[in-house]
Amino acid sequence: MTAPLDQHLPDPAAVPSEAVSDPELIAAGLAAEPTLTQPGLGRRTLESLRRDPVALISVLVVVCLAIVAIFAPELAPYNPLHAFPNGLAADGAPVHPDSTFLLGTDPNGRDVLSRMIFGARVSLLVGVVATGLASIIGIIIGGIAGYAGGVTESILMRLTDVVLSFPILLFCIALIAITGPNTRNVVLVIAFGYWTYLARIVRGLVLSLKEREFVTAARTLGVSHAKILRRHILPHLVPAIIVYSTLGVATSILIEASLSYLGIGVPIPQASWGQMISQGQEYFQTAPWLLIAPGVALIITVLAFNLAGDWLTDLLDPATAEIGR
């Protein structure tokens, strides 16, 4: 699904705190520049999490995943790469889940639970770093295009269109095929395929922001363009970037899983969910857990990031939150 990404999400041009109904927050908003540091945001976050159990669960899932990823070596019961002699049954088949191996073993006699935990680390690492890189590229290109306008904008946006024309997965696959599969290249390739979405969004935002009075005021005072972009426009982009980066992590994780499934992602023997699914598919009749465990983990992870992104949209961008209610 590449086409709908930038078409059907709520219009990001609205700046936070414009449609806040709570009188206290309006007072607070009048006192301070409406940015993330605005007083009351912490309270509003807790309040909206309390009201919205789905958001609460998805945020908790994301936090748990982060903890699992960071403390993988401490949490995993075994070494994910170790092939246990008792990890295979007498006929060479993987061992069913039992008290020793909670999620059973894989066809190499390795502990599936430990591999799942280290797989979470890979997924999150690739997802977060790739999206971070993509955001940086997207902000720079989109920001300059939107602010500069004219020929610069045309050139940068046509460049964006060119990259956007390649179906993102096929684009990543072709680049990986050429540069060689390893974790660093997977991250770079996803970032290189995904920045276009953010560039388009940032450009749209900057186009409307640069017409605002505070930018004109800064210009009149002789503030340089670079400084206006950095100090006056960038802070207004933060909410939208947080929202779209959260959604971007979900997409990046899916791309990483797809690449690893095809055998051109994170190299073996390192554990990754996509690769585990690919290895497990031949054993589905005898060892269904090999396929179900990583698949369910992927769905839950991607779902949690998508829902957290939706919730952040409502939280950081109250002007559009009413749509769909």
Partner: protein, 311 residues
């Protein structure tokens, strides 16, 4: 209108040129010597050098680029490294029917599932139906297609033997039901959410209020008046999806063993068959660019508001 069309056309041509250039650079930045790949690992240095000369690899970059574009203008995508002597465009041409059928089937599932579910959800917001469809849409959007495909293959194909396991056969449609469903389910999830959101927005507009006040039944309002507004963005997205699917849905094709364009690209990766990789990627990108142009023009023709703003 004519001015806009000319500008849009020029824009499309520029983007196609960019796509071609990028595809060319892909082939150029590949590490290792393509001539060695063609010649095979045991070839002598002389043989490699002679093949490099044959392929024009010893010429400067710009000269290679000019002849690349020149060949492309004749529909020649080069010769496959791995499949000795076969032309890349010929291979793609043979694989295309499967991809086209898969793409059309995927789009049909998107419409058949997405629109009715979206309408049902908008009919009674926050009802059980609405919540179920939202949950279903979210899972549909979050499930990795390759995993979903494997699950369907196992339960419906292997366990219940309702569908053939993989590959192709007669009648072909039987072999396409599961792949097209897997392909379409993510999009259907998107559409159902979008139809719901757009519909709820439209339902608040004054003319719908008026229809309600006249005593028009809710069902008629939904299907006759509100649906119209929802369909325009859906058609736009369908066009984009079709362009995307036509590029070859590699994952689906490889899970279900369909010999389409995506499968061609995938098998080219193993052999590092650069002409085949760049050829398939190029074809996919051109499909996308052309479809987005077609959609833009169609949109302009269909919707008078867009037409006026683009005069």
């Amino acid at each position: 209108m004519t001015g806009w069309l000319a500008r849009r056309l020029a824009q499309m041509i520029i983007v196609v040129f960019g796509v071609v250039t990028l595809a060319f650079l892909f082939a150029y930045i590949v590490p290792g010597n393509p001539a060695r790949l063609v010649a095979g690992p045991n070839a002598s240095p002389e043989a490699v050098a002679s093949i490099a000369r044959q392929l024009g690899l010893d010429r400067p970059l710009w000269s290679q680029y000019v002849s690349y574009v020149g060949r492309l203008a004749h529909g020649n995508l080069g010769v496959s490294f791995a499949l000795q002597g076969r032309s890349v465009s010929g291979e793609i041409w043979h694989a295309l029917p499967y991809t086209v059928l898969l793409a059309i089937g995927g789009v049909i599932w998107e419409i058949a599932l997405g629109i009715p579910i979206g309408i049902a959800a908008a009919y009674r917001p926050r009802s059980i139906m609405d919540r179920f469809s939202t949950l279903g849409a979210l899972v549909g959007l979050s499930a990795p297609p390759f995993w979903l495909g494997l699950m369907l293959l196992y339960y419906l194909g292997y366990k219940l033997t309702l569908f053939p396991l993989s590959g192709t056969g007669h009648p072909l449609i039987w072999y396409l039901i599961l792949p097209t469903f897997t392909l379409g389910v993510g999009g259907a999830a998107w559409y159902s959410r979008m139809v719901r959101t757009t519909m709820l927005e439209v339902l608040r507009s004054p003319y719908i209020e008026f229809a309600r006040l006249k005593g028009m039944p809710e069902r008629t309002i939904l299907l006759r008046h509100a649906l119209r507004h929802v369909l325009t963005p859906v058609i736009t997205m369908l066009g984009m999806d079709l362009g995307y699917f036509l590029g070859g849905v590699l994952i689906i094709e490889s899970v279900f063993g369909l010999p389409g364009v995506g499968q061609l690209a995938y098998s080219a990766i193993d052999t590092l068959d650069i002409p085949m990789i760049t050829g398939t990627v190029l074809v996919a990108a051109v499909f996308m660019v052309v479809m987005s142009f077609v959609v833009d023009v169609a949109y302009t023709l269909v919707d008078p508001r867009v037409r006026l703003s683009r005069r």
